[in-house]
């Protein structure tokens, strides 16, 4: 649209763009380049004179670091599982709200609320609710069912803690997906669904042959947004479990924080950052694959 009209001069364009471009270069681009360089060094982070070049030494170390491989597996699992579940719940509940059954407004508002809550506060609230003497365990204990003699270790048992983390992430973020899918459904022509229903298509077939193909571009974008968001996970884990128990919820960002700021292994921790950046880049490139178009 604007390209048909008059463009501003080269000089004016440069002056408008320069402040943001310079700021971005200094506070985003340079740190990315610096962390890539630091990944090949050994350094405690104090005196610049002590930086020692280590080549690929850090990557050799992390290949044999059990905690790193745990953190890597957990991070990939977290991103994959949360993306799948966020989309299943997000699309499913958006369809339910779109169908305007009674109570759909309550669900829409309820899902919207966690979007205002800081992940750190979310983690704090759920930590209290799910603790051994938290609301859930006390309620179960007093429910008179008599089956539960011991509090359930939602955050205390290694295998359960990771599932709890995923659940809390779904609580925090599913509203985004619901809103995006709900917005996408607004433009879905009702006749298409009706025509399919008249042809005798059940809800599963209507979902598969009408809704999903129609929403395909939206799904592609939402999946990539979830993948990108997933690699950013930090405070949800840091506050909810601190990576425990026994490293069962450790992710790359929490392990990076520990190595860099508690153990002063700046070079080694930087090599995790390189891994995180590589994973985030690969998943961002996946978009053209999912939507079937090259953009």
């Amino acid at each position: 649209m604007s390209s048909s009209g008059r463009a501003i001069t080269r000089r004016a364009g440069a002056l408008f763009i320069a402040p943001a471009a310079v700021f971005f270069a200094v506070f985003m681009l340079l740190p990315v380049i610096a962390v890539i360089a630091l990944a090949f060094t050994e350094w405690t982070g104090f005196s610049l004179g002590q930086i020692a070049w280590r080549g690929v030494g850090n990557f050799r170390t992390l290949a044999s670091d059990d905690v790193f491989s745990k953190a890597l597996v957990h991070t990939v699992l977290f991103v994959a599982l949360s993306t799948v579940l966020l989309n299943v719940f997000g699309l499913g509940l958006a369809l339910l709200i779109h169908s305007r059954v009674r109570g759909h407004d309550f669900l829409r508002i309820a899902m919207f609320l966690p979007l205002a809550v800081s992940p750190a506060i979310t983690a704090l609230i759920w930590q209290q609710i799910l603790g051994p003497y938290g609301f859930v365990n006390l309620s179960l204990g007093r429910s008179g069912l008599g089956v539960i003699h011991k509090p359930i270790g939602f955050l205390g048992q290694p295998n359960l803690a990771f599932a709890t983390l995923i659940g809390v992430a779904i609580w925090q973020y599913s509203g985004y997906n619901m809103l995006l899918y709900y917005a996408g459904l607004q433009s879905l022509p009702a006749e298409r669904l009706e025509a399919a229903a008249i042809d005798g298509a059940g809800w599963l077939n209507r979902l598969r042959y009408v809704v999903v193909p129609y929403l395909r571009p939206v799904i592609a974008v939402v999946v990539v947004l979830n993948l990108i968001g997933g690699w950013k996970v930090f405070e949800l884990v840091y506050v909810l479990t601190g990576g425990g128990p026994n490293r069962s919820t450790e992710v790359l960002s929490t392990y990076l924080f520990q190595q860099a700021f508690e153990f002063s292994r700046v070079g080694y921790a930087s090599s995790f950052a390189l891994v995180i950046i590589a994973l985030a880049t690969v998943s961002a490139l996946a978009r053209s694959r999912i939507s079937g178009t090259v953009t």
């Binding site: 004016a12 402040p19 943001a20 924080f257």
Partner: protein, 296 residues
């Protein structure tokens, strides 16, 4: 009115009402309503829990009744002191306002430049800035921390402001450029022909039209900055100099289970301002979400 056209194969009002009633009470729709209700409760209960917990007396904190037996509004004053919320609020407000102002100033001008001046170079810079959307804060926190300490900005709110602004820029530029692309250039053409400079044409003709888009960007920036965690955690030394999210979660870890009601009260106070802003401006939020995702 339908009485005058009885021969048309149209359903009568009675038939339609009957159909819609049957529709409403069909087993499928009833099950859907149940799902809405129970799933909705899962989202709401933690927030209700934290409010009721926040007004309980300490003798009552292990009760699971949805209605607290005690009602102590004074918990909020106690929590305010115990968590030093005055200091934490002041820091969070300063960081949030400064980040909003700084990131909008940078992104609105850049978005205008990217929209109105197009070359291979400017498109390349635009795409490069968009890649900032996918950089996880943890990935660059190490060099960011080292740089800020080197500049003498460690434990200074300004360090957090610079970082949050860098993370807010890409989305701001993306959303604002999409909006400016839809503003006809003829508007500024007229102003420039009349002798206005490019800056004045932007400042007095285009900028006032951007109010809804600026509101959307400001809303997203307020939420992400107010709720930010890693930057203040690393760049500010202790609770006395920290922000709400970091200060409350760190202090909560120290006070233990018996002060649960104060943790809850502090959490409520930290969440309420953003919750109120988000609910009041939800229209901008939803518009921004779809615009950002579609343009992405």
């Amino acid at each position: 009115m339908t009485d005058f056209a009885p021969e048309l194969p149209q359903r009568t009002l009675a038939e339609r009402v009957f159909d819609s009633l049957r529709e409403r009470s069909s087993p499928g729709r009833f099950a859907g309503s149940l799902v809405c209700f129970f799933v909705g409760l899962v989202y709401v209960i933690p927030l209700l829990w934290v409010v009721t917990e926040g007004v309980k007396a300490s003798s009552d904190i292990f009760s699971t009744s949805p209605f607290p037996h005690s009602f102590r509004i004074s918990n909020f004053a106690d929590a305010w002191r115990q968590f030093q919320l005055g200091t934490l609020f002041a820091h969070t407000i300063v960081i949030t306002i400064a980040t909003v102002v700084l990131s909008i100033a940078f992104s609105v001008t850049a978005a205008y430049g990217f929209s109105r001046y197009r070359s291979k170079l400017s498109e390349g810079v635009f795409v490069l800035i968009l890649t900032g959307l996918m950089v996880p804060p943890a990935a660059i926190i190490i060099p960011f921390f080292l740089t800020m300490r080197h500049l003498g900005l460690y434990n200074n709110l300004f360090a957090v402001i610079l970082g949050e602004t860098a993370f807010a820029l890409p989305l701001g530029i993306l959303l604002l450029r999409g909006y400016i692309d839809n503003i006809p250039t003829e508007l500024t053409d007229a102003a420039v022909v009349d002798g206005a400079s490019e800056w004045k044409a932007f400042r007095y003709v285009v900028f006032p039209l951007l109010r809804p888009a600026v509101a959307t960007v400001a809303l997203f920036t307020i939420i992400s900055t107010w709720n930010g965690f890693l930057l203040p955690l690393v760049l500010l030394r202790d609770t006395a100099t920290s922000t709400l999210t970091v200060g409350i979660s760190q202090t909560a870890g120290q006070v233990g289970q018996l002060s649960l009601q104060f943790v809850a009260a502090a959490a409520v106070m930290a969440v309420v301002p953003v919750l109120v802003i988000l609910i009041a401006a939800r229209r901008y939020y939803v518009q921004g979400l779809s615009a950002g995702a579609l343009k992405h």
